[in-house]
């Protein structure tokens, strides 16, 4: 009885698994380095997790509605390269910013149209889009990094440090996570997103415009990736044409670690954001423990597999 109650609680609050992992990791890392449990370390984790986390918000939202987006890593680079070019031409920040997000919205729209009208899996559409955009970026930069040659003070709204190691980007991440978590759990639209991913035929039979919901989410996923790219640009002032490679998979990993199902219909934005935070935590923790930073992706791999197994066990219907 007690056991099934615990189970019920975990299935209801899918974020519980990732919260336990975050605490578990904190215990291990603070044992290895006591300074791990400091405001400063926590703020650098949030800041490190921000770009991935903002991407994971969009990716998880789309995943819950039953579709994938593998092109977010390429959109991340494309948006920041476009913005850097425009800024170098002397175009005002706000215009460059909107143009970069607009480009991303167009990519999202294209992903949606190809997937929905062409009736092909979004895995294929966005894998193709990922390579296509990357190819265009490599060709148009000839493989060289694009440097921001002008000083753009307004860019500090994206990533300037505010307190300790906390950057504004960390705050943006938390605010966006809260907003989209709220949309998913507490608005009619959020209800439709869950239904569209969980049972598209049922959603359609109940009069929900499945194609529209998916299209909005494709655009959202792309725009969030662009925003993450712009944050990275404002932080480093330079973009490699290979920037963001692999980030799409980390965003999916964050979502799955946070309880999202690859099949759609299950998951929360809070879970995905915590998943991204966990990845940031591991990165900071390993550095503070003195381990070579290369270990981190191996760690994430193990974590992903464990999360996958746990999620499956929990979601199995009796």
């Amino acid at each position: 009885m007690a056991k099934s109650k615990v189970r019920l609680m975990i299935t209801r609050y899918m974020e519980l698994g990732v919260i336990i992992s975050i605490i578990g990791m904190a215990v291990v890392f603070s044992y290895l380095n006591p300074r791990f449990l400091s405001v400063s370390a926590l703020s650098s984790m949030v800041s490190l997790a921000a770009e991935l986390g903002i991407m994971a918000i969009g990716v998880s939202f789309l995943m819950i509605s039953g579709e994938f987006d593998l092109s977010v890593g390429s959109v991340f680079a494309a948006a920041s390269i476009l913005a850097a070019w425009l800024l170098n031409m002397g175009i005002p920040f706000i215009v460059a910013f909107i143009a970069a997000l607009g480009l991303a919205a167009c990519v999202g729209l294209a992903n949606a149209l190809i997937t929905i009208k062409g009736k092909i899996p979004s895995f294929i559409t966005t894998l193709g889009m990922m390579w296509f955009i990357r190819g265009v970026l490599l060709a148009s930069t000839k493989g060289f990094p694009v440097r921001l040659e002008v000083n753009v003070p307004e860019m500090s709204v994206l990533s300037a440090p505010v307190l300790y190691d906390l950057r504004i980007s960390g705050l943006w991440f938390l605010i966006l996570a809260a907003i989209f978590h709220f949309i998913l759990t507490s608005t009619p639209y959020g209800n439709w997103v869950q239904a569209v991913g969980g049972a598209p035929e049922t959603a359609r039979a109940l009069g929900i415009n499945v194609a529209k919901v998916k299209t909005i989410n494709f655009v959202l996923s792309s725009v969030m990736a662009a925003l993450a790219g712009l944050i990275a640009l404002s932080r480093f002032k330079v973009v490699e044409p290979v920037a963001g490679m692999g980030l799409e998979l980390e965003a999916i990993a964050s979502s799955v670690i946070g309880g999202c199902s690859l099949a759609g219909g299950v998951g929360t934005v809070a879970g995905a954001s915590l998943g991204a935070f966990l990845i940031g935590e591991i990165r900071v923790g390993l550095i503070m423990a003195g381990a070579p930073a290369y270990w981190y992706i191996g760690f994430v791999g193990v974590l992903l597999i464990v999360a996958g197994i746990i999620n499956l066990r929990l979601s199995r219907r009796e």
Binding site: T187, G198, A203, R204, A205, G207
Partner: protein, 259 residues
Amino acid sequence: MSKPRYLLELKGIVKRFGPIIALNNVDFHVGYSEVVGLVGDNGAGKSTLAKIIVGYHQPDEGKIIFEGREVRFRSPADARKLGIEIVYQDMALVPYMNVYRNLFLNREVYKKIGFIKVLDKKKMRELTKKLLEDIGIKRRDPEMIVGKMSGGERQSIAIARAVHFGAKLVILDEPTSALSIKESEKVLEYVLDLKKKGISSIVISHNIYHVYSVADRIVVLDHGVKVLDVPKDVATPEEIIDVIAHRLSPEEIQKRARG
């Protein structure tokens, strides 16, 4: 204005899927407070007909008249607005979502805060609790994940949802096929309850006996053509099965209805 003769009337419905003619010139009607049993073998066109009535498919030819007015449904949302609801055998509800989210799916109760629509979860939970009580489901937790409930409970919830939102015509697609005997009986009781409330229904099922226990009239489809449309008392369930299996000519029975 006098009441139209039928609640729903379909005239000369034709539906093609590529080269396949799923429905060929089908006339069909449902009266007020009437239960119509729609039967036929696999591929006879029962589900296609149902999906046309609820706006999921659009007919290639023919007319749909609901409450005396010709209607054209572009989507299930249009049909729902007029009070036509369908309860599918296993796709009536979203399994991963809880009861109250399912009950109010696409009909959410919300409050407007500025321009943002915020779900009124408290109200939805309360209404759900009442609804579950009304249909006699013992586990009355509106937060229960639907996938963890029994097939009978899910059917009952789906039917209750239709009634709650003021359905005038409820279509049940294979309502008992996945249920235990006891649960089937309960669901069939709900169908009779609908009739008492003045709600018409169409019951689609492979189980002729289940259909017989609730229907007023039986309609048999065969390869997209309506071959029989008679009050149920003119034929036995066994005869209907024989008609479906082509062991008995439908004209024989149709004659009885006329005579």
